[in-house]
Amino acid sequence: MKAVILAAGEGMRLRPLTVSEPKVMIPVANRPILEYVIDSLVKNDVTDIVVVVGYRKERIMSHFEDGRKFGAKIEYVVQEKQLGNGHALFAAKDRLSGEFLVLPGDNVIDRRAVGDLLKAGACPSALVVESDNPSKYGVVTLERGAITSVHEKPSEMISNIILTGMYCLSDRIFQFIDRCIAEGEYGLSNAVQESLGEQPVTPVFSDGLWIDAVYPWDLLELNAAALENLAVRTAGKIESQVVLSGPVGIGEETIIRAGTTIYGPVLIGDGCEIGPNVTIFPSTSIGNSVTVEPYTVIKNSVLMSNCNIGAHSYLSHCLLGYGVKSQSHLMGAGSEAYVNIADEFFKVPHIGSILGEDTAFGTGVSIEPGTIVGAGCKVSSGARITRNLPNRALVT
């Protein structure tokens, strides 16, 4: 069976981490989210894959190429305007016939989730889960083993069963998508709702892993979850008096300098330079070509490739985009905080700061927990940042 992965969206609620790549390419334990999805398909012998791309499509195509490296055969279809996931699926219409799987590219799933959908052997069918927070999703009502209605992001409590966005569908869905698009509805759940009248959709429950990353702090959770399955591989050069405890993955040509202590699970990429005397706590992922200077402490954070963190810095529960640079004494503490995303405030139990790619900090900058600093900002020495900064802000 063929599978379609919808990977065209930007992921606006994850800004500024999506400045140069789409949400599906954001690394979780140093692998793009989409890689987990493709992996789950391949492990279920679904290797014929169509990926619908759009926003920053080159990042996806450059990474996955024709799919051979991942054991799959990947074709790409471009959704020029990212109007909705139904519209995205419609873009792949010419590549699909009969029955096929549909998956969102931005949810981390494991092989069981895909396996359960396949095993159910029903088409059309939809993978559903129970959710504590159904109002963010498409909520369904069930009757006699069939979905009876779909409600997109309902304001009132209808049910706690939500659509994961994973389906087994047939090409008959396209007529319903077409009809919905004509009415200005671009979501796939709209089309599924439309189709219910003519064709029942079977709900498939799964106890497989399904995590949706909507907000930045979700990425920290995803990262921690992915690191739990860390297969330790230690390459590079480890100087004397380095303590590695628990699973610690270290990439090629990385140097861990003397006196550094790392408590796993921690994953460090290729070509990094860590230390001397750096301390890294769980559950931290560090990309490629990252330098961390002496006496810096990092806890439960994600540092993407090419970051450069100066001496005596402290980062806890932080997300650093690609190429964040800081001179010494960067303070990014984590605690309970209110985070402002698109003018909505979210209370997050434990969060540090989210730093957009290529932002540069002078020495001694301190950032309040829950603050989002845009991409390409320049922050002068001694600044204290207490509220969100847009991209390319200058703080003097």
Partner: protein, 600 residues
């Protein structure tokens, strides 16, 4: 300049040869041909060739039975691109077929001799004499016949031969590439390893003068004198999928977008440690000579500025084919030879010449195990991965990376660069992938600009100092793929002549980053815009001044000016690409150009 493949195995040779040949199509494509022999001796040798691309050959050829064969894609150097002159070429009996890459320099004399002894020639090519030579030497053993025939020819070549009744391919080389691929119950030869990757990643490189025989079960190599040679196979670590387009409309665009990764790979393992390379220890060089052709030559010109700045060593740059004409200097320079493929005949010749002159040599190459790596004292690999687009992009950028690393080594060695300065440069280098990514994020903006200027007939590129060679490279990219006449000048030279060419129909691309040349560049921009030329300026982000002078501005991230050529050239690559796309040009295979030039 041509592509050669050969197969001996259990499967039908024809489809495998065509598939392999397609991988080499970028090398040239004015004609192509195939010859297959089978077990059935009576059937003889089956040969077919045609003018044009491989697709033409594929659609017009008859089905050929047999599991041994050779095929060729040609880019004419001798004789017109006609079907008759296409390879393979046969002997008088039509039982032998030969494909050839390179030039037989004494072919006129050999041809005379052969004509006298009664051989009949069908084509104007130098290759055909080899078919007749092998025919006259053939007394049973094909390898022996080829070896005897080789004694009579001079020049540079790769030959591959098949004969009716022989289930083997015999091949040989001199100063032209040849590689053997080892399969399971089948073996291959090719002029480039990309042709083989679909079938195997275990290869043996053949050296000058050696003759190799492949059959389905064996590979045997003999040297010039006929004694057996043993050689361990090597494993190719990059795979064919690296060479596939993966969703991009053209290899060139894919390769442009691959650049952040290519830079990362090129730097990996080279900047973390502070230990100098053994090669540089105890060697001090009073001057450097960089030798290269085409885009590599432009990298060399940038290298001159980098080496002079970081290592304070006077550096000259020379075109490979001109190097041998330069007088031997009293001081013995470090000679740096830059070639993407490592097989560029002119540069290989220069490497030998440099060695003859007793100079130390460094090669900068992308292909591991290629010819240049055996000709030099020290190799710096660029690790860009395979580059298929004829227009060099990621290999150019990684050549610059190699030159930064080389200059840093030289500077450390002669103490003009402190450990501290080196360390801060290391962090600038580490950030280069980000600077390039930032340009890639602006691809849409550059595409819009290209649409605006795509009808231009001429385009001029100007820059000063280290960005002057970048202007040359931008012009080269533009002309080779978009067929717009592009020319690069040092901005200060405009007033000494080129200004006469400038008109409102000839856009000028000016590199104006904030370095010591900035004020002068603004002057040059005013100079051309006063004459009505639209100006596209490339400057640093946040430079509001530039917009007052230029019609369009593309911003790059601020970097130390010495490193600005890297993001700037990516802007110019994208500009050239989108201009070509807008004009509907065959981007990956521009007319009359081959990727690897293995003839002098």
């Amino acid at each position: 300049m041509c592509g050669i493949v050969g197969y001996a195995g259990r499967r039908a040779a024809q489809p495998i040869l065509i598939e392999s040949l397609k991988r080499l199509e970028y090398r040239g494509y004015d004609s192509a041909g195939i010859a297959v022999v089978g077990e059935d001796i009576q059937k003889g040798m089956q040969l077919f060739k045609s003018k044009g691309e491989i697709a033409v050959l594929e659609s017009s050829m008859p089905e050929m039975k047999g599991s041994t064969g050779i095929a060729h894609t040609r880019w004419a150097t001798q004789g017109k691109p006609t079907t008759v002159n296409a390879h393979p070429l046969a002997d008088c009996t039509n039982r032998l077929a030969v494909v050839h890459n390179g030039i037989i320099s004494n072919f006129m004399e050999v041809r005379e001799d052969l004509l006298k002894s009664g051989h009949k020639f069908a084509s104007e090519t130098d290759t055909e004499v080899f078919a007749h030579l092998v025919e006259s030497e053939l007394k049973g053993d094909l390898v022996e016949a080829v070896r005897k025939a080789l004694e009579k020819v001079e020049g540079t070549y790769t030959f591959a031969v098949v004969g009716a009744g022989y289930d083997e391919v015999v091949a040989t080389r001199r100063e032209s590439p040849l590689v053997v691929g080892l399969g399971d119950g089948e073996n291959f030869i090719a002029s480039d390893v990309t042709a083989l990757l679909k079938y195997t990643n275990r290869v043996v490189y053949i050296q000058d003068g050696e003759v190799v025989r492949i059959t389905r079960d064996s590979v045997s190599i003999v040297d010039e004198k006929g004694s057996k040679v043993e050689r361990e196979p090597q494993k190719i670590t990059w795979s064919l999928e690296d060479a596939e387009k993966g969703g991009y409309p053209h290899f060139m665009l894919k390769e442009i977008f691959d650049q952040p990764e290519a830079i990362h790979d090129s730097l990996l393992g080279r900047i973390e440690t502070m230990e100098p390379e053994p090669f540089f220890q105890g060697n001090s060089f009073s001057n450097v000579k960089i030798v290269a052709c085409g885009t590599s030559y432009h990298a060399g010109l940038v290298g001159k500025y980098i080496i002079e700045e970081l290592a304070r060593v006077p550096t000259t740059v020379q075109i490979s084919s001109e190097y041998r004409y330069s007088p031997i200097s009293r001081e013995s320079p470090l000679v740096v030879l830059i070639t993407q493929s490592g097989e560029t005949a002119d540069t290989l010749g220069a490497a030998r010449e440099a060695r003859k002159r007793g100079n130390k040599t460094i090669g900068i190459a992308n292909v591991v195990g290629s010819a240049i790596t055996r000709e030099v004292d020290h190799v710096i690999y660029t690790r860009a991965g395979p580059e298929i687009g004829v227009a060099a992009t990621k290999t150019f950028v990684t050549q610059l990376v190699a030159l930064y690393l080389l200059a840093m080594e030289l500077g450390m060695q002669n103490r003009s660069l402190t450990a501290q300065a080196r360390r801060s440069m290391t962090s600038v280098l580490r950030n280069l992938p980000r600077d390039v990514q930032d340009v890639l994020n602006k691809a849409d903006e550059i595409e819009t600009l290209a649409k605006k200027y795509s009808s231009a007939r001429d385009m001029f590129f100007i820059g000063r100092s280290i960005n002057y060679p970048i202007a040359l490279e931008g012009a080269l990219k533009t002309k080779e793929i978009s067929y717009i006449h592009g020319e690069g000048f040092p901005a200060g030279e405009l007033k000494h002549g080129p200004l006469a060419l400038i008109s409102k129909d000839s856009p000028v691309v000016a590199v104006a980053v904030r370095d010591h040349t900035y004020e002068k560049m603004l002057g040059n921009i005013s100079e051309v815009s006063a004459r009505g030329s639209p100006v596209i300026a490339i400057g640093f982000e946040g430079d509001s001044e530039l917009a007052k002078f230029a019609d369009d501005v593309i911003s790059i991230r601020q970097t130390p000016p010495m490193f600005s050529p890297v993001p700037v050239i990516v802007v110019l690559q994208l500009l050239a690409y989108y201009l070509a796309k807008e004009r509907g040009c065959p981007i990956d295979k521009p007319r009359n150009i081959a990727k690897t030039v293995t003839v002098e």
